[in-house]
């Protein structure tokens, strides 16, 4: 069982944001911000540094999703199969961790409602 996350929160949110389909940088940052409850606000420098890393790792790739009116030099990014699997693994890992937390807290007498609310 992996207890150590292979993904940093920023990487996780980036992969998560791409689940529904390819996005370009600005939209990607917007989606990450939404899905993280405004916790992850990416600015261009860090966003593309992370994208490059994930691209090199093989989790994210460039996709051709340009609409006709778009800037033809604008890049869209999509999840690779590896990225999708990794995200799924991470999801399972987080679920396991959540269960562990819940179980351990119940052992100490804290009830479920207090944890979830």
């Amino acid at each position: 069982m992996t207890t150590h996350s292979p993904l940093k929160p920023v990487e996780f949110h980036l992969l998560l944001a791409l689940v529904d389909g390819p996005l370009h940088g600005y939209a990607l940052a917007g989606r990450m911000r939404e899905e993280s409850d405004e916790q992850v606000k990416m600015m261009p420098g860090n966003l593309y540094t992370v994208i490059r890393r994930l691209d090199r790792e093989g989790w994210v790739t460039e996709a051709d999703a340009r609409t006709p009116g778009d800037d033809q030099r604008r890049r869209y990014f999509a999840l690779t199969h590896a990225g999708r699997h990794l995200l799924a693994d991470e999801g399972r890992r987080m679920a396991r961790m959540a269960n562990t937390v819940r179980r351990r807290l119940l052992d100490t007498g804290v009830n479920d409602g207090e944890i979830t609310s």
């Binding site: 600015m43 261009p44 420098g45 593309y48 090199r56 690779t80 990794l86």
Partner: protein, 924 residues
């Protein structure tokens, strides 16, 4: 002309430069997308107030954190995923720590520096803000220096384009226009000689543009000859320029070139504009070209250029032609000037009217910006001093930190760190700080230069060329790097002159901190105070001067006075009697307007920047016109004008309605004229002659002196003629209201200093339109605004220097504070001991203040000495005060001492609150 370079925003340009700091592969792959992203963020940010400043800050922080990360990460050879077939590479391994250490020292040092900066946010913020203030102010001023003084003019070979000035030999500052016949002679004589290739002439005119049935007076239009555009060498942005063919009799008045501003504003940037027809002065005119706005032709703001249609005999043009000369490549201005002066001398010999006149040449650039140059350079020097103070603050801060890190540095040296390595690390740290300061400074400069443009509007030439673009940003970057290197050297040098062993043992040996100059930081404080005091001295003198100028009596009363400039259309008003009748009509309507107590018209107003006046030579009975050097200002006025202005008649009478075309030619003179011409004698009934002795005038009244060009001017001789006897079509009608409450009933109420002047101006405009609705009003004004405008330049520089002085004092105060606070902290034991043996809190405050003030007083003394020397360079700008004005100096001393005391007081008070017990135990 859609140059992408000009449409990009400052933020975008700034960050496309920042891109170069990223690793090359990242930049190549994603650079374009990053800029697209930034553009979209900027669009969002536009909606919020200060949104873009906030965005710039966030982007900077983003770049500062992303760049070291981008370098730290190196792609692993195993998993360089080329495409989506990397599917096999499930959950790739993370990079191990060892792999990340394979990097060059530079990014490593940078990373260490970034970490250090982030761990010490207070220090970083103070340091960056201090520098941002210095670099921002310098960049803003440099944008003006570059835009006004250095940026290419857009004119072909401006060094060989010269402005002709026709003036009396003894009075070069007072140029007259040329006569048409004179120009014809001059052309024959000088073209092709002495390096003069060609002369071209132009006349300012005023034309009425009729579009959508609304007449609009075009501010400046020019009648140019066929050689004008070729001589200046400027290409149109659309269509063609005017050429020799256009001034042929059959083409005159049928074509025009318009300005880019008119094209964009009035014609919505219509790409098909060439060939369209305009109605100018009710004549259809075909537009043949559009000229760029950022080229002075021959000054900014001209809206229409039309071919000249004058004859040599046209009397209305006498004295109105302005002339430019194109010199041959390599020609010498002085030689050409001499050829022209000789020609003028021959002309004077033939024609007594031009006797005593000469011609001199200035380069076009010089005449455009000449008078602004010394003031701009002085401002640049002053703002450079602010940067000096900011750098001294930085050096002082870094030195203090180096002292704290003494043990770390000593340990690293003992462990064998090379001098070069340590120096590099220290320099990179200071460069990081200065870059941060520089970037913040550029953001600040972006706002400051806008503010400057707003304040300097109408006072400086070429403001349209002032912007933050690549050369200016390059300057900011250069200054930041230089500043970083200079103040980074201080701790680096210091670190290698320290006693190693002592530092390692943690010994704080008895440094002679209390005497100025022993500690480099004390020396820096002395320097800062000195420089700040120099600036404060300059500012105090200029502000005293301004107060002095404001108290000068202009000779009239501006409260409740307003007016409108009306330049009659000479197609509709073809003779003197029609012109005179129009103004009589307007004034009649005004006098019956409720609320108006007086009204009149004049060919020129005091302190009006739009009034172009020249002195007229005159002679007293018995004098020969050719021998006389007498000249005086002249104005033609209607009855009621002097009364409306509030200039008191001291003897005799004013101009009256009974002075008609068929009565005796009369004049009212001012006090100075009376004194210069007749001394103590009563001038009433005396006579003098103008127009080469051909027109004799009898003096009927003497009026009080009026400062025509503002309070700094000496009073000049002037005379006033009745409009009925000397009719002009271009007049300014003024009216006075005694009822200031009228102002509050109108929109005027919102304006500061509203005194009814704008209300009166509106009344004049209404009366003018009621008299002839086809005749537009050129412009309206309140007199109080003209009066403010007359000292606007003095006010601008006074305020600018005052702002500089305030910033300098603030920074010097911060410098004093930093050093004293550090020293108080170092001396806790000493203060604790003193208090333990009976010193009270106020004794300690006293002690700290005295020690700190010793340093400041040295700076103050030096500063006043240097300030007095520097004040000599201000003398040309001072009218009412001397450069050693005692009240200004007293203010400097009080202000500077107050700042020094204030800056030392906070650490002094904290010293007095030291708990003697804990400080003696060594706890802090």
């Amino acid at each position: 002309m859609s140059d992408p370079e000009t449409t990009r925003s400052v933020i975008e340009r700034l960050f496309s430069a920042v891109l170069w700091l990223y690793p090359r592969d990242l930049r190549r792959e994603y650079g374009h997308d990053m800029l697209t992203f930034i553009r979209e963020l900027e669009q969002d940010a536009r909606r919020a107030p200060l949104g873009r400043l906030w965005l710039a800050g966030r982007l900077l922080l983003d770049a500062a954190t992303a760049i070291p990360r981008a370098y730290r990460w190196q792609p692993r050879s195993v998993l360089v995923a080329t495409s989506s077939n990397a599917a096999t590479a499930h959950t790739p391994r993370r990079l191990s720590g060892k792999e990340t250490t394979s990097m060059t020292t530079l990014p490593h040092d940078l990373l260490v520096a970034v970490r250090r900066a982030r761990h010490n946010p207070g220090f970083t913020l103070v340091a960056a803000l201090t520098l941002a203030l210095g670099i921002g102010a310098n960049t803003a001023i440099f944008s003006v220096v570059y835009g006004v003084l250095l940026r290419p003019l857009g004119i072909a070979d401006p060094a060989h384009l010269a402005v002709l000035s026709f003036h009396r030999a003894e009075d070069p500052g007072n140029a007259a226009g040329l006569w048409p016949s004179h120009l014809v002679n001059l052309r024959d004589e000088v073209e092709g000689r002495g390096g003069v290739q060609r002369l071209t002439s132009y006349i300012f005119d005023s034309v009425t543009l009729l579009a959508d049935g609304q007449p609009e007076e075009l501010g400046a239009s020019l009648m140019v000859d066929g050689a004008f555009f070729e001589t200046l060498g400027v290409d149109p942005i659309l269509g063609r320029a005017l050429a020799e063919d256009d001034v042929l009799p059959n083409r005159r008045g049928t074509v025009a070139v318009i300005s880019e501003a008119l094209w964009r504003g009035r014609f919505g940037s219509d790409p098909e504009i060439v060939g369209r027809t305009l109605s100018l002065d009710e004549t259809p005119v075909a537009i043949v070209g559009v000229m760029p706005d950022n080229v002075p032709l021959p000054q900014a703001g001209v809206q229409v250029w039309m071919p000249q249609g004058w004859d040599v005999e046209d009397g209305r043009l006498f004295g109105r032609l302005s002339v430019l000369a194109r010199l041959e490549p390599g020609a010498d201005l002085a030689v050409a000037s001499e050829v022209l002066a000789n020609s003028a001398a021959r002309l004077g010999a033939d024609n007594p009217r031009f006797a005593g006149y000469t011609i001199s040449l200035r380069t076009f650039r010089d005449s455009l910006i000449g008078s602004a140059r010394p003031a701009i350079l002085a401002a640049a020097g002053a703002v450079g001093l602010i940067l000096l103070i900011a750098c001294a603050n930085m050096a002082s801060l870094l030195l203090s930190r180096a002292v704290v890190r003494e043990r770390e540095i000593a340990t690293r040296r003992a462990l064998g760190a090379q001098r070069g390595q340590l120096t590099t690390q220290l320099l990179i740290e200071s460069l990081l700080l200065s870059s941060l300061g520089g970037l913040l400074g550029i953001a600040l400069a972006f706002f400051l230069h806008r503010v400057l443009i707003g304040l300097a509007a109408g006072l400086l030439p070429r403001l349209y060329d002032v912007r933050l673009d690549l050369p200016v940003l390059g300057f900011a970057v250069g200054v930041s790097v230089l500043a970083g290197l200079i103040f980074g050297m201080a701790p680096a040098v210091w670190a290698f002159t320290r006693d190693l062993a002592g530092a390692m043992r943690g010994l704080r040996h008895a440094r002679t901190r209390h005497t100025p100059l022993a500690d480099p930081r004390q020396a820096l404080v002395v320097m800062q105070v000195t420089v700040a005091v120099v600036l404060v001295t300059g500012a105090a003198l200029l502000l005293r001067n301004l107060a002095e100028l404001r108290s000068v009596d202009p000779g009239f009363s501006s409260a409740g006075l307003g007016g409108a400039r009306i330049y009659l259309d000479d197609n509709a008003y073809t003779n003197d009697s029609q012109e005179a009748a129009y103004f009589v009509d307007v004034l009649e309507r005004l006098r019956t307007t409720p609320g108006i107590v007086a009204a009149g018209a004049s060919s020129g107003l005091p302190m009006d920047p739009l009034t172009i006046d020249y002195d007229l030579p005159y002679t007293l009975p018995g004098e020969e016109p050719s021998d006389s050097t007498r000249q005086a200002h002249f104005r033609t006025i209607t009855p009621g004008y002097l009364e409306a202005l509030g200039a008191p008649i001291q003897r005799g009478r004013s101009i009256l309605a009974s002075d008609r075309d068929d009565t005796e030619r009369v004049a009212v003179i001012n006090e100075t004229f009376a004194r210069v011409a007749w001394g103590e004698r009563d001038p009433i009934g005396e006579s003098f002659a103008i127009h080469g002795g051909s027109l004799s005038l009898r003096v009927v009244g003497v009026v009080g002196d009026v400062r025509f060009h503002g309070p700094s001017e000496q009073t000049r001789p002037a005379f006033f003629l009745p409009h009925s006897q000397m009719t002009y079509g271009a007049m300014t009608v003024i009216a006075r209201t005694a009822d200031a409450t009228l102002a509050t009933a109108t929109a005027d109420a919102q304006k500061p200093g509203a005194d009814g002047g704008s209300w009166a101006a509106t009344a004049v405009a209404r009366a003018a339109l009621a008299a002839d609705h086809r005749q537009p009003v050129h412009s309206t004004f309140a007199f109080s605004d003209l009066e403010r405008g007359a000292v606007a330049t003095d006010r601008f520089y006074g305020r600018l220097l005052a702002a500089f002085a305030a910033v300098a004092l603030l920074l010097a105060g911060a410098g004093i504070y930093g050093v004293v606070a550090y020293w108080v902290n170092e001396s806790r034991r000493e203060f604790g001991l003193r208090m333990a043996i009976g010193a009270t809190g106020s004794d300690i405050v006293d002690l700290v203040l005295r020690r700190s003030l010793r340093t400041s007083l040295l700076g103050l003394a030096l500063g006043i000495g240097l300030g007095l020397l520097a004040a000599r360079s201000l003398e040309p700008f001072l009218y009412g005060v001397s450069a050693t004005d005692t009240s200004a100096l007293a203010a400097v001393v009080v202000l500077s001492l107050a700042a020094a005391v204030l800056a030392s007081l906070i650490p002094a008070i904290s010293a007095s609150r030291i708990d003697p017990i804990s400080s003696l135990r060594g706890e802090s």
